[in-house]
Subunit: 464 residues, 2 copies
């Protein structure tokens, strides 16, 4: 992450750290946004980043730690005791961020931090947040919010806001609850200055407030916030009692993370825990080798499949030459199809019940693409055979077999690519697992059977 | 998009449209959020959706049209004249949304709509927004905002807010400008109720306001909003004069769009203009065939490459059997690498100047993965050859050649996959174009040369 930091200023900071020039060091980061300081720390070596981080004012350090990639927080806090983390950092940040930081700590430190949070309310709030499963609304929400009773007045809203404004950075709306603390509506902040303070809350609040339950998956939360253009989403328990709120910046992070995970799955690999540059060599090998090995075992059936046709290949070596071309065309078509379907599912553009419509449509698309590629393939072989004897005297028959195989393999690849993600979704698995390499492997094995069957049938007594 | 609409209610709506039961029809959509009505329209046939849309109250229709996927707006507005669009719809919506709707219209209607906007100020604002290039901050911004002069007081802020509150749905902050209308700071709304109204704006505004220039690319805008956790971003001209503001919901849409485009490029196809379900068969074929043909032509060099080794294959058909296995292993490794690098570039996790570090690291990763797969490959051939004569008496030598080729091809695939996106970025092209199929094609052709060279060298006088 090096958008704002120049190489020169990074060098200068490293020099200052080496010289322990604390005063100038702090002066050089003064006025920087916490997100920029975090970026700077991410670009320093472990020891250097610790040195600088430990010298920041506690309040600033607390803001900075939130912006540091999760995988480097551990490192930065390496020299801190649980007590120091609790009293110097946690105290200054919102409950959701605090829970976030604490959940990344090693188990033994986690308990110590929690035990050392001075404010009882904050401690129990954070403890509550830590109980929710990862990737749920509960785990993402903050407890800090401004709420009023439905029977109060706008003046009460102003009072509530004044009381909380200091602790809550981003207030977007005031939430309205009933006697049982159930969410009944929301009030836009601008109403506080556009209506009289004597107005009862009842008369102005918007009862059509959209909320989610705490167990809801983050993906669903982000889908709803996107759909309804929300910057803040209240979170309730099963009975509708207000528990907290999620802000759009947290959802943005969640979306980016989700997209990266999907991209990694679609590339046929495990999901990396950390970012590319913060993953160790060993992490990388582990996450990549597993799927590569699975794909390799799958693909090794191509050798078995071709083994069945060894005699034909021995008689007509020309057939072997087109193997990569034909199977890769099926694989490429399949990876296009699977990507289209995976994205459309992720965006909610298509649903499982449309599978029959998708099947018919992809039959047509696959057939058209197959015929077009077959034409290109036929021309390719025909033109080449004017200049080389590689394809022998029966080049026209060979070209015909290649073309016909392309139609079959491309159509087949397109169907596997489009239907397999739907099947995975139906089975409750992540459609993104139906990666391009995975589809290509399936198509390779079956594509070979299609190709050699067609060749055996049409070239019998000519070449074979 | 069918999350909230049940099949039953959709059927009922279609029935009502067919019977022209207007009253009940409108009753059944009453109380629905505009985004839900849009979803409903997206699930109806063209005629049906027009019928329902034309019967909505203008204000509601205006909100609904914004939520309808861009590719279906045209259709819904099919029976509207330019004058009707201007007076019934445009009048009710923010300038950025208006410009958005108008820019999707056919050219001749566009002019008519603009000419028929009654409010002169609105007309010139929209006309200005239409001049910005697509995918820039200018094209995404809205002109509506609340601003005050730096010399004013908090009371002036309240007045400004009251004046604009009705027309602007989502006010997140008040912007502060100087004598030349240059942006100098911002004021959080909560300050309006937590400070005295006599306080001069000077004393409370935050001068560290982050803004973008109008020509900035949307990706940069979203990166900044994510980094600094902003819900609103002011937009200025080159001299820092305030032009408008971008809200986070628009950025969210832009991010999703960008991610989908990247996914399509990475799957080796053109970027679809519309969503999967709204793209015509012909669109789909066009966007997919172009790249497939390019990949096909590229891949056809595998036939040429194998042609050079025709004699060797004729003598040792067993070599041909492992062709798909070896080249696909290189392709799979390459597609993992390219996805990792493309994502890391998109997220700003790595930059071009780190290419040397990436190169060295991917050499190690590629080598380790290659050796591991080679081991699997050797064992695979060794085990099989106990049960079949397919690999002949020299199976150990064949297995050795396969294993050695795997090391070479996997390492090579990994390097191409990781360095090619960097090269594209360096040339100012989109790294996502370095799709998995594209990398696989490059690796296939070169991988064959590696494999057959190794085979020729080690099996000479044994098999060949």
């Amino acid at each position: 992450m090096s958008y704002t930091i120049s190489k020169a200023s990074l060098d200068r900071i490293q020099e200052l750290v080496a010289q322990q020039g604390d005063e100038e060091l702090l002066a050089s980061v003064k006025g920087l946004h916490p997100a920029d300081i975090a970026e700077l720390l991410d670009n320093l070596e472990t020891k250097e980043s610790q040195y600088l981080f430990e010298r920041l004012e506690p309040e600033l350090a607390a803001e900075v730690i939130l912006e540091v990639p999760e995988d480097r927080r551990d490192e930065l806090l390496g020299n801190y005791t649980g007590k120091e983390i609790a009293q110097e950092l946690i105290e200054h940040i919102d409950s959701d961020d605090a829970a976030d930081v604490i959940s990344e700590l090693p188990e033994e430190v986690r308990e110590e931090v929690l035990a050392n949070i001075g404010d009882k309310e904050q401690r129990s709030e954070i403890a509550e947040l830590l109980t929710y499963d990862e990737h749920t609304a509960g785990a993402l929400m903050a407890k800090e919010l401004v709420k009023v009773h439905a029977d109060s007045s706008m003046l009460d809203c102003v009072r509530a806001l004044r009381q909380h404004a200091e602790h809550i950075d981003d207030v977007y709306a005031i939430l309205v609850v009933d006697d049982h603390d159930r969410l009944v509506g929301s009030i836009q902040l601008k109403l506080l200055v556009t209506t009289s303070l004597r107005t009862p809350v009842k008369e102005v609040y918007d009862p059509d407030v959209i909320s989610v339950k705490a167990h809801e998956h983050v993906e669903e939360v982000s889908r709803l916030m996107e759909k309804y253009d929300l910057v803040m989403m209240p979170v309730t328990d099963e009975r509708g009692r207000l528990l907290g709120r999620i802000t759009v910046d947290d959802v943005l992070d969640a979306i980016r993370e989700e997209e990266t995970e999907d991209a990694q799955r679609m590339a046929g690999m495990g999901v990396l825990e950390y970012s590319y540059s913060n993953s160790s060599l060993w992490d990388m090998v582990k996450k990549r080798f597993g799927w590569l090995a699975v794909l390799f075992i799958g693909e090794s059936f191509t050798a078995t499949a071709m083994g069945y046709f060894e005699d034909q290949i021995a008689k007509a070596v020309v057939l072997a030459l087109f193997v990569p071309l034909i199977i890769s065309s099926g694989g490429n078509t399949g990876s296009q199809a699977s990507t289209l379907i995976i994205r459309a599912l992720a965006l909610g553009d298509i649903t499982l019940r449309e599978w029959w419509r998708i099947f018919r449509r992809e039959c047509s698309v696959g057939l058209i693409l197959g015929v077009l590629l077959a034409a290109v393939g036929f021309i390719r072989v025909a033109v080449w055979s004017q200049f080389t004897d590689l394809y022998g005297p029966h080049w026209a028959q060979v070209a015909g077999v290649v073309a016909l195989s392309l139609v079959g393999v491309v159509l087949w690849g397109n169907l596997i690519g489009s239907l397999f993600p739907l099947l995975l979704k139906r089975l409750g698995l992540d459609p993104a697992t139906s990666s391009a390499p995975f589809v290509a492997t399936m198509v390779d094995v079956t594509g070979l059977l299609i190709y050699f069957s067609i060749a055996t049938f049409f070239l019998r007594e000519i070449l074979i």
